[in-house]
Amino acid sequence: MSATTLLKVSDLQKTFGGKGGLLGRGRPEVRAVDHVSFEVRQGETLGLVGESGSGKSTTGRVLLQLEHPTGGEIEFEGNRLTGLSKSALKPFRRKMQIIFQDPYASLNPRMTVGDFVEEPMIVHRLVGGRAERRARVAELFDLVGLDPSFARRYPHEFSGGQRQRINIARALALEPSFIVADEPITALDVSIQAQIVNLFQDLQERLGLTYLFIAHDLSMIRYLCHRVAVMLRGKIVEIGPTEAIFANPQHAYTRALLSAIPVPDPDVESQRHAIAFDYETQKSPDGAEMRPVGPDHYVLA
């Protein structure tokens, strides 16, 4: 793959706690993101998988500067973001958006959904007049598969799937090039998930978007992502093309994770055995580095 790099992360760190807490005892330091390096390429979908506490969501938030990294660098379109002031960061914020898991919690119940989608354009003074902005909202509704006449309604009138479409419309309002989607289908009803996954794909094709897709549903990751990064306790332990990861996983943790996915086929399930993973005995040794094991495929060893 010779695509251009859109986003480059080098030696990223994010720790929580660790500073002398109450009574000077100090809480133990938690390394949520522990020296992580990777790149996201223009137009691709990079999947970031791992279990709760692996640091995958924190990585997404730190990338967008929603939280300050403890160390390391983030470059977006060749510009260094780390260390920039708030105002210097603003033009980049526009281009990087996030979509969260819970479509219920992220909408403002007192705002019409049209105002909600319009708001970022006002904040960023992106589109001139009110009429122009309204036209753009209608366009965005259409783009995400909602009837533009719904813009005058309030969130409670919408189902979970429709609310997630509204969140996506808002994220697109500023014409971003990069979107972090943090478990965007997990909270949706099963019969709705495929609709939203298809929408993500359509939008990528039409707008040339680049995604970091954070999820624990590995079958959806396999379907949607060009490359996959596997996180374990703050570190990326394996990264590579999706099919290489699924067909030829190299890290013991990746193998355990893949073997644990239930398959919707009773004949396959009766033969499947989950491989156990014991962190203490099977973690990558100290001083481990990402080593190539195949084309574009690296494992921490």
Binding site: E51, G160, G161, D189, S191, A194, M220, V263, R272
Partner: protein, 335 residues
Amino acid sequence: MAPLLQIRNLTVEFSTRAGTLHAVNDVSYALEAGETLGIVGESGSGKSVHALAMVGLIPTPPGRIVSGEVLFEGVDLLKLPERELRDIRGRKIGFVFQDPMTSLNPVLTVGRQIMEPLRRHLGLSAAKARARAIELLDLVGIVDPARRIDQFPFEFSGGMRQRVMIAIGIACDPKLLIADEATTALDVTVQAQILELVRDLKKKIGTTVIWITHDMGVVAGLADTIQVMYGGRIMERGPVRSVFKDPRSAYTWGLLRSLPGKLTAADQRLYQIPGSPPNMIHPPAGDPFAPRNEFATERCLREVPPLLQVGAGAPGHMAAAWYDLPAALENKGYA
């Protein structure tokens, strides 16, 4: 032999400010001793409410059991006084719910919480209950149970807490274990361990299980029988192999078809079921899935189809559909 559990015509409603919510509509099924029933459905399908209603765990009001019988070992649970029902819950029928963070009492040690049903239902002495609680923790795979028993829930990880919930659920060797999204909040590797544990328990103590989930994969691996619910009704039920290989409800078919499996985006788009689940305050008049069903006939929109044995299907494979799905699939070129 009579089934362990027989539910007949169970209908449950809730009063809400917006009107009456029709949560469970005329649900009937039987469960044999030793069987594992996997119930699949999404929000509003009635899968959780019907399970809570059958053991008197829905608040009334706003809930109301409109009609039905729930025969457990031949006794109608819906007619039992609360005191007797309480003796059955936790003793003969064990529960495991989704969220181990809220289901455990944070200020009591896990030992106290496992011992409580043992002392109340089985009348064990404190020493005997403690010994049994340690055994149970060991059984659910908690290392060093004699020490862990005196710890508080916050000292356990999510997966470990869920194991504690299962230990409480099976403490009195219940005849029936009902688990509602018991592994949904857990990581897949932990889920795999819990499912393995349930399979082991079935082998060791022969528990009958109702496993409620939205995950078709979990049902495929755990259940003997699958029951698919939608809009408060049973759309399809039967032996897992028969239903997965030859679904007869368009809803079951759509759910299975929309899963990516080994597909990649380069292969094709995912099949998507159009629309959203129904608002059960204003449920559709006929088949609840009809408004989203591309194979629906006129009759589906008007009349609720009965749940009937599938002609050429395995014994016990039943579906509620006015249309003939295999023929409809062929007509539309899906085969």
